[in-house]
């Protein structure tokens, strides 16, 4: 099939803190014959939203402007980046004042924001653009009898009217994609709740409490692993959980969806950086 190209937006954390997400994404995309354009982009703006809404929107809009200039749809594996890019897209459309201000700033670099730059999250690309049928064809080692808790991640899901990711109250996209790998997506009440990472190193008591609740719930619902498709969520469930892990409770492995999918596609674990996960998960291989 014809190679589709996306402007790849890894976000700031992947290169240094979660290289395995970058690697596994690259690997899976290669398998699907999808090319990723790696033009240098800047911060999505999400981290600075506490500080200044306008700054956050400007940063995001610059990326959208670059994507527009290159004529490429933008794809990010991070839910927070996705969320903020969507926020920018939304507010720039609605708020002419903001639009004027931001475009004035971008003009200095010969850039300008324009409507309708397609913004995708990794999952929406896989679900909508690639489609489960084609994914199915590439599954060589279905993860049968693996029970997975799919963690949605807030910033892609809500506010639904801005992110347009999936039905914000009862989404199904992640469960569908888990099913593609042959694994079973468990039903768990807290699947749409926050992982707690936004408060990490700000209020660790709450941050870990939120995470702990979800892990108890996931395990109680029979999950063997928890899967994420967001840089921050993964950092929380993998790195933070590993650091917090006490002798009493053994941690619940958190696996990136691209790793899950990669394994199911028969890609070698090294390429997917499975060993880089702090909490080890060894797929039982035939």
């Amino acid at each position: 099939m014809a190679i589709r190209t996306y402007l790849y937006f890894p976000g700031c954390k992947i290169p240094r803190f979660l290289p395995q997400y970058g690697r596994s994404t690259q690997a899976v995309m290669a398998q699907l014959g999808i090319a990723l354009d790696e033009t240098e982009l800047n911060c999505c703006g999400y981290p600075v939203r506490h500080e200044s809404f306008t700054a956050a929107m400007t940063a995001a809009a610059r990326n959208l402007a670059i994507a527009d200039a290159k004529g490429l749809p933008l794809m990010t594996p991070c839910k927070c980046c996705y969320g903020n890019l969507k926020h920018a897209d939304y507010w720039m459309r609605l708020d002419s004042g903001l639009r004027r201000q931001v475009n004035a700033t971008l003009a200095a670099e010969g850039l300008s924001w324009r409507e309708d730059t397609p913004i995708h999250h990794l999952l929406t690309v896989l679900d909508a653009d690639v489609g489960s049928r084609r994914l199915q064809m590439l599954i060589s080692r279905p993860l049968t009898d693996l029970r997975v808790a799919a963690h949605y991640g807030c910033h892609a899901l809500r506010p639904g009217k801005i992110t347009q990711f999936d039905n914000p109250l009862s989404p199904t996209i992640f469960e569908r994609l888990v099913a593609v790998t042959g694994a079973t997506a468990v039903e768990w009440p807290l699947r749409l709740d926050c992982c707690g990472h936004p408060l990490w190193e700000k209020n660790n008591r709450f941050s870990t409490a939120l995470m702990a609740n979800k892990i108890v719930d996931a395990r109680q619902s029979g999950a063997q692993v928890l899967t994420t498709a967001c840089t921050y969520c993964q950092l929380q469930f993998d790195v933070v959980q590993a650091e917090q892990a006490s002798a009493s409770v053994d941690p619940l492995p958190a696996v990136l969806y691209t790793q899950l999918l990669g394994i199911a596609m028969g890609l070698p674990p090294e390429i997917l950086g499975l060993d880089d996960n702090r909490i080890q998960w060894i797929p039982d291989t035939p």
């Binding site: 800047n42 506490h50 807030c154 639904g160 700000k202």
Partner: protein, 554 residues
């Protein structure tokens, strides 16, 4: 005699300066680890570690780094050829001028038997190297004033270094040119090296020199064949030993020709002597200031590159990290590459705070380490630091091999410890009450950017039916076993404070700052109140009011 004194004085200053800079590497305590060891201990650690490194295979890594990154400046070449040309021109131009010219008596005079500065290839080399430096300087100037990020933040040193070098080179060329045409100098030379008083012969030599060496005499000598032949003969006998053809001076010669008309005046003023002093003293000055400004990178960068070739700071012993950071501070040439690629540079276009940009932040971190920052600048630095997303591009790209990312995390830790934890921490250290009094709206000038779009507008809250859904779905409130104690208020209560126009009371409330921005409240609100957006906006507002740089009303 006077000049020699100057030379030795500036040399002394230089050496002292270098030692003083080097001392900082051990004494400036950057990062939490610094508290674990004294400067003395750090010195010991470093010097005990040295042999271990020098007599191991690591030395090879270091050697490679020195070859590729210092001598060939691979990193710069990769990033931009033009910059590479610039840097090579200045760097090698200046260094070789020092060797073959400034230090000729000490080096060449011994190596070469019949050395004379006025002979080729030296004459030619001097011109060549000089022009190489000039080319480099030209590129540098253009770059400094056309690259967006750089031109906003040119420092005194960025300019000073260019100016000093320019002075040295131009004065040198001028000196050569004026000497070339000086008649008085000619007569001195004749007196010293020949001592004939046969006017006829002297005239002949003058004729030849006037024609061949462009000396300008008050009364132009005859240029007929017989005079010239005699002149050539005499030249061959007495002068040729030290004087090659000036055609090799491809920079000085055109200048000499250009100033011929003024020759008589210049000669009377002995301008060449003045230029000589000027040239010499400028060089001494350069030598003296070397350790105190950007020039110091001649030493610090190779050192830094050598160290960084041994891997990132985190991998190293805690005692050695502060040393490395201090060296890093010295190694910055303010070349601006980091800021050009920094992931948050666009944010600095909205939040006017230079310390968001790495190339500017590093200097401020230095001042922080030396405890030279006012409260206001500390706050700005903490804002700059927390805006960093730790993407690590700066570290990867720095041509001086500074582990900037490590520097940032270290300085941020220091700031947090010294009472600049950023709003999240700051708010936590105050009660809502203190807050309400501390940052009342009326004491602040109105916002320039980020005017509130939701708060302060009653329509935002009109639709609220007080159903408490926002609070009921909030995972943070749920995580607390006593919301009032942990969060001061619930989301619904914050919204009601807004409706009652009691914003001041809401700003410092921990609910606002412990919100995980999961947007459940907003998603579930049956009346479409943008609860999470309001909380976000309150944070923006609080940040604005926290900023000591925000103008207060008189």
């Amino acid at each position: 005699m006077f000049l020699t004194y100057c030379a030795y004085l500036s040399l002394a200053v230089c050496v002292a300066g270098i030692l003083w800079r080097a001392r900082r590497w051990f004494f400036s305590a950057i990062g939490p680890e610094a508290r674990l060891s004294t400067p003395g201990q750090r010195m010991v650690v470093m010097f005990t570690a040295l042999p271990g490194i020098l007599f191991s295979r690591k030395i090879w890594t270091i050697f490679k780094a020195l070859m590729l990154d210092v001598l060939l400046q691979r990193q710069i070449f990769r990033q931009s050829v033009v910059r590479w040309i610039m840097h090579m021109g200045i760097c090698y131009g200046v260094l070789s001028l020092i060797l073959v010219h400034a230090l000729d008596d000490l080096i060449l005079a011994d190596l070469v038997t019949d050395y004379a500065a006025t002979r080729n290839p030296y004459l030619f080399l001097r011109n060549l190297l000089g022009s190489a430096v000039l080319v480099g300087l030209a590129i540098a100037v253009v770059r400094r004033h056309h690259v967006a990020v750089l031109k906003r933040f040119n420092t005194v040193w960025d300019r000073a270094i260019l100016v000093i070098l320019a002075i040295i080179i131009f004065s040198g060329i001028g000196l050569e040119a004026t000497r070339m045409i000086s008649a008085s100098l000619f007569e001195e030379m004749v007196a010293d090296y020949w001592g004939s008083d046969d006017t006829e012969e002297i005239t002949a030599l003058k004729s030849f020199w006037a024609q061949q060496f462009h000396v300008v005499f008050a009364t132009p000598p005859p240029l007929d064949a017989s005079h010239l032949d005699t002149g050539r003969q005499l030249h061959a006998d007495y002068c040729a030993g030290c004087h090659s053809s000036v055609r090799a001076a491809f920079v000085a010669l055109p200048l000499a020709k250009a100033i011929t008309p003024m020759a008589a005046i210049f000669d009377r003023m002995r301008i060449d002597t003045w230029l000589w002093y000027f040239h010499y003293l400028a060089s001494c000055l350069a030598l003296a200031v070397l350790p105190f400004g950007k020039l110091f990178h001649l030493f610090s960068v190779p050192l830094s590159l050598a160290v960084s070739s041994l891997g990132p700071a985190v991998g190293q012993r805690p005692e050695s990290r502060p040393i490395r950071r201090a060296m890093g501070l010295d190694a910055c040439t303010h070349c601006g590459v980091c800021s050009r690629h920094c992931s948050v540079t666009p944010i600095a276009t909205v939040i006017s705070n230079a310390t968001i940009l790495p190339s500017e932040k590093i200097a401020e971190v230095g001042r922080l380490a030396r405890d030279q920052l006012t409260i206001q600048r500390r706050w700005r630095l903490s804002q700059g630091s927390r805006t960093c997303t730790a993407c690590g591009r700066c570290s990867d790209l720095c041509p001086s091999g500074i582990d900037l990312q490590d520097l940032w995390s270290a300085s941020t830790a220091d700031l947090n410890r010294s009472g600049y934890p950023g709003p999240h921490g700051w708010i936590r250290n105050q009660s809502v009450e203190q807050w309400a009094d501390h940052a009342r709206e009326e004491i602040l000038a109105p916002a320039s950017t980020d005017r509130p779009r939701f708060t302060g507008n009653p329509n935002t809250f009109w639709a609220c039916v007080q159903c408490t859904t926002c609070t009921s779905v909030c995972p943070v409130v749920a995580a607390s076993d006593d919301p009032r104690r942990d969060l001061d208020m619930t989301p619904q209560q914050v919204m009601n404070l807004m409706r009652l126009e009691l914003k001041d009371l809401a700003l410092g409330c921990r609910m606002v700052w412990d919100c995980v921005t999961c947007y459940k409240c907003q998603e579930h609100c049956p009346q479409g109140v943008p609860v999470a957006d309001v909380l976000y906006e309150l944070r923006n507002e609080a940040c604005r009011r926290l900023d000591p740089a925000v103008p207060k009303k008189d």
